[in-house]
């Protein structure tokens, strides 16, 4: 410092002093402030991609290309269907397509019986501890895991299926379910079984409440119950 009587207290910090060094310091501080403002501003503007690092971007790109592959496959399917419809003069393909679609929708809506790989879940509940909420959780878990067709007891599960507690047990869609409760679900057996078996999942909470669920993976599950349209 050139000034010998340089102040030491905090007050002297605010006393203006002008020399070349101070000016450079001020300029550097200004640069810092400017950079901070620019950075904050650019962060506001594009938070999505500009700030993402390489691995994040690679992940996003992977997702996108997967999705575009899927969509491309859809396009191919639809093109095939269209070509079939155009070639077909007697309307045979159209009828075939409509029938196939009706079958798919019927299965999803629950108006047609269905067969396919899936699981059978038996919930033994000798003490009658299982409430409707537990069965609903089980159903939701199966749906989340990709079950396409589900039957509970003799009830085919549809979009508006409900469970309710009654004096003697649980009611599903107005029918009382008999113990042991039996779920049939068509979908990827391994995925469904894994979903039910996750720690803290459906089977464990059933076990905690005194019941016992057994999952059997089967190559062929037949769901016979249907809903009236």
């Amino acid at each position: 410092m050139s000034e010998p009587a340089e102040g030491r207290g905090p007050g002297s910090l605010l006393r203006p002093r002008l020399n070349k060094g101070q000016l450079i310091v001020a300029v550097l501080c200004a640069v810092l402030g400017f950079a901070v403002a620019a950075q904050v501003h650019s962060n506001d503007r594009d938070t999505k991609f500009a700030t993402a690092r390489q691995d994040g971007l690679v992940g996003i790109l992977g997702d996108l290309s997967q999705r575009s592959d899927r969509l491309r496959a859809d396009i191919r399917d639809l093109d095939d269907t269209r070509a079939g419809l155009e070639r077909d003069t007697e309307g045979q393909a159209a009828v075939e397509d409509a029938r196939r679609r009706a079958a798919t929708y019927g299965m999803l809506a629950g108006t047609l019986p269905a067969t396919g790989p899936g699981i059978e879940l038996t919930i033994n509940d000798p003490q009658g501890r299982v409430r409707s909420a537990a069965l609903l959780d089980t159903l939701e878990e199966l749906r989340d895991a990709g079950a396409e067709v589900i039957q509970v007891g003799d009830v085919r599960v549809g979009v508006n299926t409900y469970f309710a507690d009654a004096s003697g047990g649980v009611i599903a869609d107005g029918q009382s379910l008999t113990r042991p409760y039996r779920f049939l679900a068509i979908g990827d057996p391994h995925t469904l079984a894994t979903a039910l078996n996750i720690p803290g999942g459906v089977l464990q909470s059933l076990r905690n409440s005194g019941a016992d669920g057994v999952v059997g993976q089967q190559p062929k599950v037949t769901v016979q119950a249907v809903r009236s349209p």
Partner: protein, 110 residues
């Protein structure tokens, strides 16, 4: 005082001008800013200790920012950019905290 005015002027200018950060600078600017903040707090502490030197401040400011940006640059080249930036931010953060603690002790005797 002039330094504070400069800082305020820079911030105001930045918000008024709305500069776009050039693409090549984008990975390095945040780290450089943290490094500059460290230098600034170091300078403030030295000022309160009465050992502030313009030259030391300028050199430490520039070398801090450049080295921080260089570390991130090399990290990016080596494929560990994000980890190295985290490391740099942690180290500089610790330094900023210790500087601020010293400043606080000086100012409030606490």
């Amino acid at each position: 005082m002039i330094a504070l005015i400069g800082l305020a002027a820079g911030i105001v200018l930045g918000f008024v001008v709305h500069p776009a950060v050039p693409l090549w600078l984008q990975p390095y600017l945040p780290i450089a800013i943290v490094a500059a903040l460290d230098a600034m707090f170091g300078g403030l502490r030295a000022r309160l200790d009465g050992i502030f030197d313009d030259k030391v401040f300028v050199v430490s400011f520039l070398s801090n920012t450049i080295i921080a940006a260089l570390i991130v640059f090399f990290g990016d080249q080596l494929g560990v950019g994000s980890q190295l930036s985290t490391g740099v931010v942690v180290v500089l953060g610790i330094r900023i905290f210790s500087n601020v603690a010293a400043i606080r002790r000086k100012l409030f005797q606490a």
